[in-house]
């Protein structure tokens, strides 16, 4: 009975189904549940702490501890994932740590425990993201990594959208503390999803089949040389500038919705959060195929180029419902960067053994850009108004796009043509000349 129920939801496969399929399913679910249980740690924490009578200063202090830890831990998290043999164990440990931090937040809401929980969550997240990327690469190999990342991004987006609805409902009807108990509970299916991924499928065999197989990382010894790769630094700079122009856009837009819409403002903001996730969920697999088939650059340029457009539209449009439509563009950017960040870093660090370390470096650049974004755009919005803030963000997005166009070469290795035909058939109106080098 239980077994049948579990097999229904895909958690108990003992099957005729090909073992690899089971592992890939596990990865799907892992992305879904991780997105789910990471949602509670967003701006919602301040709602919860406000509700139990915390002062704004104390909330700011606790959350700042998390922000700082989130940046500091990026590179060490990546190094750790590169260093440990079992990426599954690393991911499972990170999930357990995040569950512990959610429980701490729910059950012991005093300044020190909350700050501790924030720091713990930040460190665990810096391990979990790279660990999932490394697991994905180990499952499918470089040849099919783009398509796999498209799938990862799809399930992450579905998980994010689902969680926003779930947490919103839970917080409203059951209470804000319950959201964190739910968050902790969602770690259990995430762990179960890791268990679905079989160690046997995680071989590096597919990676080594590549014709141009360079010496194995173990034999050459690990070196920091890939960190000086011009392409990695260029990508880190581009992604950082992108986040500098992007991160503050949704919060400021949501504030405008609160200002302009009436009693339905909360629903409109919910739509601003969920609608781009739907777009990401729909187009991510296509993004992955095009990145494999035609190359990284056209998709990258597309994802970056819609950011300044979004900023200018936000600056010019006041209708709250139209703002939801503008937010759909965010789904395009999110899909492009969500797929291409792990893909481009994998291209660059291929056969170096430093994949997740490099991911950590890029993560640090992205985190720095995002933190600076809310500070800078908040200051501009306070003194010059939201329109000026949106125009400033649009200008930053334009700079980021130009930077991608001038600095960022195509990183797709030659000979990766297996997906070329399929990639072209995805959506019409997308020519490779859009961003060819």
């Amino acid at each position: 009975m239980t077994t049948r129920l579990l097999s229904r939801i895909g958690l108990w496969v003992r099957p005729a189904a090909e073992p690899m399929t089971r592992s890939l399913r596990g990865l799907d679910w892992l992305n879904f549940f991780v997105a789910n249980f990471q949602t509670g740690f967003g701006p919602f924490i301040s709602v919860y702490l406000t509700g139990i009578g915390w002062t704004q200063g104390a909330i700011g202090a606790a959350l700042s501890a998390g922000t700082v830890a989130g940046m500091v831990s990026q590179v060490p998290g990546g190094i750790l994932v590169d260093a440990v043999r079992s990426k599954r164990a690393a991911a499972a440990a990170a999930i357990l740590a995040i569950m512990a931090s959610a429980l701490l937040i729910a059950l012991w809401p005093a300044l020190l425990p909350i700050a501790l929980a924030e720091v713990l969550h930040a460190f665990a997240s810096s391990v979990l993201g790279p660990a999932i990327a490394a697991l994905s690469l180990a499952l499918v190999g470089h040849g099919a990594f783009g398509e796999r990342l498209g799938r990862n991004a799809r399930y992450l987006a579905i998980g994010n959208a689902f969680a926003a609805g779930l947490m919103g409902t839970f917080g409203y009807y059951v209470g804000e503390r319950a959201v964190f108990l739910l968050t902790a509970a969602l770690g259990i299916p995430a762990l179960a999803a890791i268990e679905m991924i079989r160690n046997a499928d995680l071989s590096s065999a597919k990676i080594q089949q590549r014709p141009a197989a360079a010496p194995k990382p173990e034999s050459t010894g690990w070196s920091w040389r890939f960190l000086r790769d011009r392409r990695l630094l260029a990508y880190a700079a581009c992604a950082s500038l992108f986040q500098l122009a992007n991160a503050a856009m949704l919060p400021i837009a949501a504030g405008m919705v609160t200002k302009r819409a009436g009693s339905e403002a909360s629903l409109v903001i919910a739509a601003c959060i969920v609608a781009p996730q739907a777009v990401t969920a729909v187009i991510s697999p296509w993004v992955g195929r095009v990145a494999e088939g035609r190359g990284r650059r056209p998709i990258l340029l597309l994802g970056f180029a819609v950011l300044p457009i979004r900023g200018m539209l936000f600056a010019g449009i006041t209708d709250p419902y139209l703002m939801v439509l503008i937010q759909l563009l965010d789904g395009l950017s999110a899909a492009a960067l969500g797929v291409l960040t792990p893909l481009i870093v994998a291209d660059i660090t291929r056969d170096t053994g430093g994949y997740t370390t490099a991911l950590g470096v890029v993560g640090l650049a992205i985190g720095g850009g995002a933190t600076l974004s809310t500070i800078a755009a908040g200051l501009v919005a306070d003194h010059l108004g939201s329109e000026a803030a949106f125009l400033g963000l649009a200008a930053g997005g334009l700079c980021a796009t130009v930077l991608v166009g001038t600095l960022m070469p195509e990183t797709r290795p030659p000979g990766n043509h297996s997906a070329a035909i399929r990639g072209a058939s995805g959506l019409p109106g997308f020519s490779s000349s859009a961003g060819g080098p």
């Binding site: 924490i45 009578g53 002062t55 259990i188 919060p251 009436g262």
Partner: protein
């Protein structure tokens, strides 16, 4: 391909089981805490030697309450947000409450200062909320309150004719 079982699998099983137990326990504790009645001993004034002459009074729980984090509802029952700060004037009287207004899951909230006289505390049964004589439509476009701007005047939204009754006893701090 035969299923390969390595030690990590079984330890993961165990950790799943352990995590489940912890969550179940935590849920139980949370529910139990939520159901604990919040009544307290009745009024009794005592003099305590250990207080060196200072007097000590006990109040029923439903006479005094915290203000930070308290939900504010409009007359129509709309959710107006939570009180995040109280602004006092130079006489030490509360003059305005800052509420965190609007948003979804904490995204898009605006802090708005509203006049203390627009708040109503006499809610009878509903001790957990405070009523406001202003509606969402009146608050949504109000300028945001920012405690970091020391040089600018503070915008406080008020009801033109304040209601007859004065705010109930000062909650104290």
């Amino acid at each position: 391909m035969p299923p390969i079982r390595n030690p990590f699998f079984s330890s993961l099983r165990l950790s799943l089981l352990g995590a489940g137990t912890i969550i179940a326990g935590a849920l139980f504790v949370g529910l139990a805490a939520a159901q604990t009645p919040s009544t307290a001993p009745t009024n009794q004034a005592t003099g305590d030697a250990a207080l060196n002459g200072a007097s000590l009074d006990y109040f029923p729980r439903d006479h005094l309450f915290r203000i930070l984090g308290k939900e504010v509802l409009s007359a129509k029952g709309e959710d107006m947000g939570r009180i995040v700060d109280v602004l006092f004037d130079e006489k030490g009287e509360p003059h305005a409450a800052v509420i965190d207004f609007g948003g979804f899951l904490g995204v898009g909230t605006r802090k708005i200062a509203i006049s203390w006289s627009a708040l109503r505390f006499d809610l009878g049964e509903k001790k957990n909320v405070i009523a406001l004589d202003l509606g969402r439509e009146q608050l949504k476009a109000a300028p945001e309150y920012k405690y970091t701007e020391s040089d600018k005047p503070i915008p406080v939204v008020a009801q033109p004719q304040s209601p007859p009754q004065e705010p109930a006893p000062d909650p104290g701090r």
